[in-house]
Amino acid sequence: MTTQAAQSEQPLLSVQNLKIRIQMDNGEMKAVDGVDFEIHKGKTLGLVGESGCGKSLTSRAIISINPKECETSGSIVYRSDNEASLKKLDLLSLNPTSKQIRSIRGRKIAMIFQEPMTAFSPMYTIGNQIMEAIQIHRTKNKKEAKKIALEMLAKVGISDQEKRFDQYPHEFSGGMRQRAMISMALSCNPEILIADEPTTALDVTIQAQVLELMRSLQAELGMAILLVTHDLGIIAQMCDEVAVMYLGKIVEQAPVKEIFYNPKHPYTKGLLKSMPRLGGDKSKRLDSIEGSVPMPINMPPMCGFYERCKDRIEGVCNTQAVPKTRISDQHSVRCFLYSEQREGESQ
């Protein structure tokens, strides 16, 4: 993990008050309810939370590829570091099928997905699908595009690139497919790589190799990474900064060390406790957080974690929206335990 200069530098991408609402039969689901974070050059931000907490929707909203049922609002400001024309651009303001957003997708902000098998179309060779992005963003000439693609395949550690280039997704193993996915994403050397649970579908050994590959590529190409996962182990290994999400909100955000050694929010603590420890007592059952994630539909203003929180304060946590409290300049938490003002004065 490379430690970087202080936050004073301009962030590559700053997400402010992102809200995603989905019209369901029985009301309006607030999948993402006011999320703010920033992505900095060369740094990795981890977005962690149980499935269904809105982390995937948040990551996909950046390049607005969420399905049409999602009504997205708020602002995602992108300040390109290496392209003059894109000094300051609110991605959400762009029309999802417009030329502008398309020039950013894959070229400036790339994405890799959880299920490599279904992410690739079975009908076309891996080479064809990789070249596609290159031919849109970098060069129209086929030979040149193929050369770049082969380079990328080599860079991600795939051997015998010539043969592999003409093979189909079903002829690749799980790990190799994910590597091909990464090579595709990075083929136009984007500034930001969004990785939506990149290794969940892989077994542990391959997982480590892929993560190691991502770290080395980050070091070499200097792109920022937004890593979406539910696996705290990966967070520890990869991320510089972590944002814990619960029920569409970021409940705690801090540098990775702070989260692991000085967790504040009861949910974060619960998550950490349920992680298997090296040398832990094997006979004892891992304790898990009681209850399950409620559906964020027509939720009254209260803390989402209230039902399952051991340290909840009756009358406070379940009566009003929880404001965000800043513990230190890099560490903030959304919980009344740490908020001085209890009766609703939000910061």
């Binding site: 039969d25 399905p67 049922e69 299920e115 098998m117 279904t118 079903h170 209850g291 399950s292 409620p294 559906m295």
Partner: protein, 381 residues
């Protein structure tokens, strides 16, 4: 398809079961039902179909007249509705209908129908009429609606022999709504199994089945029907005959579905999850049913709903050979066949109403299929 298993009720191994509070974890079918309910059009279609089948069930009771109510006085009469206000402007609570008198235009010999405003016949319910067996069991002769004797009510007009078209449509629905489904089901099952085996096992079994399919497809059906029409005993009940035809249709019709199922199976059989199931020792049939079939439920649903119109109308092509439904029994196909004369299109257009009914049925089946297709598709958010 992959994520479908996720919804499956988790078999928890833990000693004390985790308390499941709300409906987040429900069985796959319940989920499909939930999403199906969301599908407005499919719900309406389901309602219409249920209504049609209800009428078909109580056809004899609902239809005011029977199949053999020939009446030369009312040949090719236009539809007539109920009235509330009579010629003198007086309003009547009970809707009524005038006595229909028919004369012949001396020059064109066309039947002219004039309502005689003096005689009024009011609507009656549970009126006495053609004897029949209610649900095939209880002999009775009460009909749902009718008019005072000797008045006649032809809601949708009459056909070339003076029979009430409204009654014939309803009575025809008994056959046209039931038997074609048998045919569709048979060809569906055959196509699925044979196509599946051919696609799944491949190799010599596949080529044999493909050759059999080719032989069946190049069968000339016409001589078959002619041989059948000569061989069928005349007194055979209409329904059984129609059943034979539909079964034969099914035995010839399944090849299309089999071809597609084979194509799909070949494509899906090397999917990881299928191989995983194989390794886990799951039996072949279970793999086909549990894993492969859900893979293209949408095509199956669409193909089934598409086969229905073909089956409903199938027997009309045979009627000129003396096969198919023979008078006095009737079906929608027969009604359409009878309407197929220039004079009907030109002079008696109401005889085309059965066409509207068949289209309605086909529409509802297809929208129902649409609803099912969407509900069963896990990827649809």
């Amino acid at each position: 398809m992959r994520t479908m298993p996720v919804f499956r009720r988790q078999k928890t191994e833990a000693p004390q079961p985790v308390k499941i509070k709300d409906a987040n974890y429900s069985s796959q079918w319940r989920l499909i039902y939930l999403r199906f309910k969301k599908h407005k059009l499919a719900r309406i279609s389901l309602f219409i179909l249920a209504f049609l089948y209800l009428i078909a069930l109580f056809a004899q009771f609902i239809a005011p007249y029977g199949l053999q109510s020939y009446d030369s006085k009312y040949v090719n009469a236009p539809p007539m509705g109920f009235r509330f206000v009579d010629a003198a402007g007086k309003f009547h609570i009970k809707p009524f209908v005038y006595e229909l008198q028919s004369t012949r235009d001396p020059e064109t010999m066309r039947k002219i129908f004039v309502s005689n405003t003096e005689k009024r016949y009011s609507l009656q319910f549970f009126v006495k009429g053609e004897p029949y067996k209610f649900l095939g069991l209880i002999p009775t002769s009460t009909h749902l609606l009718g008019v005072e004797q000797p008045g006649r009510i032809f809601l949708l007009g009459t056909d070339g022999m003076g029979r009430d078209l409204f009654s014939r449509i309803i009575l025809g629905s008994q056959i046209s709504l039931s038997i074609p489904l048998v045919g569709v089901a048979i060809s569906f099952v055959l196509g699925l199994i044979i196509g599946g085996i051919s696609g799944y096992f491949g190799g010599w079994l596949d080529s044999i089945i493909q050759r059999i399919i080719e032989i069946i497809r190049s069968f000339p059906t016409l001589p078959l029907w002619m041989a059948l029409s000569a061989a069928i005993p005349p007194r055979i009940p209409v329904v059984t005959m129609y059943l034979y035809i539909v079964i034969i249709f099914a035995f010839i019709g399944w090849t299309d579905l089999a071809r597609v199922v084979r194509g799909k199976f070949i494509a899906l059989k090397n999917e990881d999850y299928v191989i995983a199931a194989k390794i886990a020792g799951v039996g072949n049939t279970k793999i086909i049913v549990k894993h492969l079939l859900p893979g293209f439920i949408s095509y199956l649903v669409v193909a089934t709903t598409l086969a229905i119109p073909g089956m409903i109308l199938g027997e009309t092509a045979m009627s000129f050979l003396g096969l198919g439904i023979r008078s006095p029994a009737t079906s929608w196909g027969v009604l359409l066949q009878e309407a197929q004369k220039i004079e009907n299109v030109a002079l008696y257009p109401w005889k085309l109403i059965p066409l509207g009914i068949v289209i309605l049925t086909v529409l509802t089946y297809n929208f129902l299929g649409d609803g099912l297709r969407d509900a069963a598709d896990p990827y649809k958010k």
